[in-house]
């Protein structure tokens, strides 16, 4: 437990100084400057665009964060984390997840705006119908947009990822071959299994904990594999790419950023699973575990929004 001050309050641990933050800042700027250079050189058709700075920065970032997190874990073992400091961690993780919610909100907002306003207006409907009349009078409004307003400049996709409509029993059965449906099942199941792992941890049943962690990770990896499969299908069979107009733009950025978060979440799961195997966490002290599980539930909830608004409706 944390040491106590004279008045009987547990002292709040304030490290005297730390080299990790500045190294993190330096790595981050290398990553960003490197990414910028790489992108600009690609755009200007450089024969051999440089990725060196980006890769060096990413490596430095990984190494720095590894040492930073190890240090925090060691401090925890040394008993420096008072209940009050633990509450700081809890608040911080909660507000971090809120910031992530708002990041996705920007893309969902764009999707809703495009579907409710921009595309109908381009199609000659509603308040701004003249937009469509003047610009592309032949454009037929539909969602998903398969035929873009200017179909020569921006060729649309051949097919969309939309779910088969549920208007008859046979259609319902066709969901059995609908990949995003299975992804929904997998991700929901993984939210349940990590909850089982959490319960096992709280009841100190370590073998169950480890087993459920492995299952959760496998489900996460399976989700990602299917997501990759879906993208491959989109690019090779359906002509659905980043370049195929607003449907492809919203589809790939929403599902792509979600997939990126699942990747990060899976990595975090692997880290805490390894820590579980090493015997970290106990019935009282499990913030690291809980933070990851909250994050995992968050990516699950985002997926439910995606499945509803990107695939089904």
């Amino acid at each position: 437990m944390a040491s106590e001050s004279a008045e009987g309050y547990p002292a709040y641990y304030v490290p005297h100084n730390s080299k990790y933050p500045i190294w993190t800042a330096v790595s981050l700027i290398l990553v960003m400057a490197g990414l910028g250079l790489w992108l600009v050189q690609l755009k200007n058709d450089y024969a051999d665009p440089t990725q060196l700075l980006f890769v060096a920065g990413a490596l430095a970032l990984g190494v720095t964060l590894f040492f930073w997190f190890s240090k925090v874990i060691k401090e925890n073992f040394a008993g420096l984390v008072s209940p009050q400091l633990n509450r700081s961690y809890v608040w911080s993780m909660g507000w971090f997840i809120f910031s992530e919610v708002m990041f996705f909100a920007a893309f969902f907002g764009a999707l809703f705006y495009v579907r409710s306003f921009a595309v109908p207006w381009l199609g000659g409907e509603g308040d701004k119908a003249l937009t469509g009349e003047y610009l592309w009078p032949d454009f037929n409004r539909q969602w998903p947009v398969l035929q873009n307003p200017d179909a020569t400049a921006v060729p649309g996709p051949a097919e969309s990822m939309a779910a088969p409509p549920l208007d008859s029993l046979s259609r319902l059965l066709s969901w059995g071959t609908y990949l995003p449906f299975w992804n929904t099942v997998i991700l929901l199941a993984s939210s349940v299994t990590i909850h089982f792992a959490h319960t096992a941890l709280k009841n100190d049943r370590r073998r169950n904990l480890n087993a459920w962690m492995v299952v959760t990770i496998l489900l996460g990896v399976l989700f990602l594999a299917l997501q990759v499969e879906e993208y491959v299908l989109a690019y090779t069979e359906m002509g659905l790419t980043l370049n195929s107009g607003i449907y492809g733009s919203t589809f790939f950025l929403l599902t792509g950023f979600h997939g990126f978060h699942v990747t990060l979440g899976t990595f975090m799961l692997i880290v805490i699973a390894l820590r579980c195997f090493k015997g970290h966490f106990n019935t009282r002290d499990q913030f690291g575990f809980e933070a990851v599980s909250w994050y995992w539930h968050f990516v699950d909830v985002v997926w439910l929004g995606l499945f509803t608004f990107v695939y089904v409706l």
Binding site: F103, A105, A118, D150, V154, L242
Partner: protein
């Protein structure tokens, strides 16, 4: 065993020697100092860009710079002042003051605090380096509307986008830290409604930052993909819409302007009672007013876009919602004035800046209501009237709030008293320079002078000449501010223990200058309010 290790790890030492003190520090006062000096440096940099703009506008015709470079100047001036000067200055105040005001040993997550700061110098170095790139710096205005910022942007826009991502990460981490500190680190007995108003203002600001900085990250990400990966978010040919950019941007942008004013509200709510020698009038209504302003700020964004071609219903909704914000803002202004009513007021420099804040910010608020009237906005939109409006709230509002706060708390922080005579001179030069610069812009704007142009019609010549003279007066008087601070630090008279007669709050109970570590054990706190 754990206990033994723990007690040996608690470190109470003073600052390290040399540069590593600043690079590795986890101390909230050190980090606050870094934020404040960094923001001052950015303030001077952004100010020089503004002076280039005003030099070009001194007379009609093109004198000094090409239109292309002129656009870079206005764009970078806006970006640097918003993200580099005003916001970091308030975070500097938050770092210095919040732990001392709530009786905490430091910020909740001291290492992340260091990271939040040190991202900024690198991010702004990257942003400033765009001046040297082929095609020049961003030249599409600080609001970077698509497709100016996508299809027609210089290559440096990519670095601008990535710099914005870094600044956003810094702001979000800083805000999380501030919220955790306020919610979790208050001294026992200090309830939320006992908190000093500066702390309240930052709790609400930090919430706004966490809510909208990710949306800014979202919109620049869409830009990045439109530019590099062929998406069609802002391209109507592919089914997107350039207006979509404006909606997402202003969903961030409008709360952002409250992010830049709420902490100033907090500062003024400390200064006015201290120099009026009366407790603040209407504490709880001040809190509720700030919360109302923050919540409403998220549903008024499209009043920036009345002329873009929105449905009439949308224009009306955004017009009325915007006007409603005048109610809580009015509550605040009335409360400050009521605090001064029949007080024994003395006019030290912090009070001078605070009173100027109330008067000029209210003027800026009035022009804001004028701009909120959708049918009238068609006349004002994109004119110098808008420029005058937002400089009244951001310079006379945010910046004068910062000046007021610096003069108010500087003696407690540094242990040195500044030169009151010179500080008064700084106030009057700033006050006169500011009004000379911006008051006349109301008239040139109403007469139809558009913003963001390097040349203008002859009838605007007199107004612009006055404006440029005022800008140079205002700009160079900030060197006096620098001199006042540096000479106070080097050879100022020692400040007294209490510094001001009637300053209240835990931060005034610590010795002068504030020791490196304060409140390692939570201080006694007695609520003044009946519960």
């Amino acid at each position: 065993m754990a206990e033994a290790t723990a007690s040996t790890h608690i470190e109470h030492s003073g600052p390290d020697a040399g540069i590593t003190r600043w690079l590795y520090t986890t101390n909230h006062k050190d980090i606050g100092t870094l934020y404040l000096w960094f923001s001052f440096l950015m303030f001077l940099f952004g100010g020089v860009l503004a002076l280039v703009v005003r030099a070009e506008l001194f007379q009609p015709g093109l004198q000094f710079i090409e239109p292309q470079l002129f656009n870079q100047m206005t764009t970078m001036h806006g970006l640097i002042m918003v993200f580099g000067a005003i916001m970091p200055a308030f975070v500097g105040f938050a770092n210095w003051l919040i732990p001392m005001m709530v009786g905490a040993p430091d910020m909740a997550l001291p290492r992340m605090n260091n990271l939040s700061f040190w991202i900024l110098p690198f991010a702004f170095a990257m942003l400033a380096s765009t001046f040297l790139m082929p095609g020049g710096a961003p030249d599409f205005g600080w609001t970077f509307y698509a497709p100016l910022s996508t299809t027609y942007a210089p290559d440096s826009v990519t670095f601008f986008i990535l710099a914005i991502h870094l600044m956003g990460a810094s702001s979000i981490m800083g805000s999380i830290n501030i919220i955790a500190t306020i919610l979790n680190m208050r001294t026992p007995g200090m309830k939320l409604m006992d908190m000093p108003l500066f702390v309240w203002s930052w709790l609400i600001t930090a919430y706004l930052l966490i809510a909208v900085m990710p949306v800014l990250a979202g919109v620049v990400t869409m830009m990045l993909f439109d530019i590099h990966f062929g998406t069609s978010f802002f391209n109507a040919a592919g089914g997107g819409d350039p207006v979509l950019f404006q909606h997402v941007f202003w969903f961030f942008g409008h709360p952002e302007v409250y992010i830049m004013i709420l902490p100033a509200f907090g500062i003024v709510s400390h200064v006015i009672p201290a120099f009026s020698r009366k407790p603040l009038f209407g504490y709880s209504s001040m809190v509720y007013a700030m919360a109302a302003i923050a919540i409403m700020s998220m549903v008024v964004w499209a009043h920036h876009m009345f002329t873009v071609g929105m449905p009439t219903v949308a224009q009306l909704i955004f017009m009325y919602l915007t006007m409603l914000i005048a109610v809580p803002t009015g509550v605040k202004v009335f409360n400050w004035i009521s605090t001064m009513w029949r007080g024994s007021i003395t006019y030290e420099t912090p009070m001078m800046f605070a009173i100027a804040f109330i008067i000029l910010f209210t003027l800026g608020g009035f022009t804001g209501i004028m701009l909120a009237i959708a049918p009238a906005d068609y006349q004002y939109h994109d004119t110098y009237f808008v420029v005058a409006h937002f400089h009244y709230v951001l310079v006379a509002g945010a910046l004068f709030g910062i000046f007021s706060g610096i003069y108010y708390w500087f003696p407690k922080w540094s242990g040195k008293m500044y030169n009151e005579g010179l500080a008064k001179l700084h106030f009057w030069l700033s006050f006169i320079g500011f009004n000379l610069t911006f008051f006349v812009q109301h008239f040139s704007g109403l007469a139809g002078m558009p913003r963001r142009i390097p040349d203008y019609a002859l009838q605007f010549a007199d107004f612009n000449m006055i404006s440029s003279i005022g800008a140079y007066l205002f700009g160079f008087s900030q060197l006096l501010f620098l001199f006042i601070l540096v000479s106070a630090i080097r050879s100022g008279k020692p400040a007294t223990q209490e510094v001001w007669d009637n300053a209240e709050g835990l931060e005034w109970t610590v010795p002068t200058p504030a020791p490196y570590h304060t409140f390692e054990t939570p201080p006694e706190f007695k609520s003044r309010r009946a519960h």
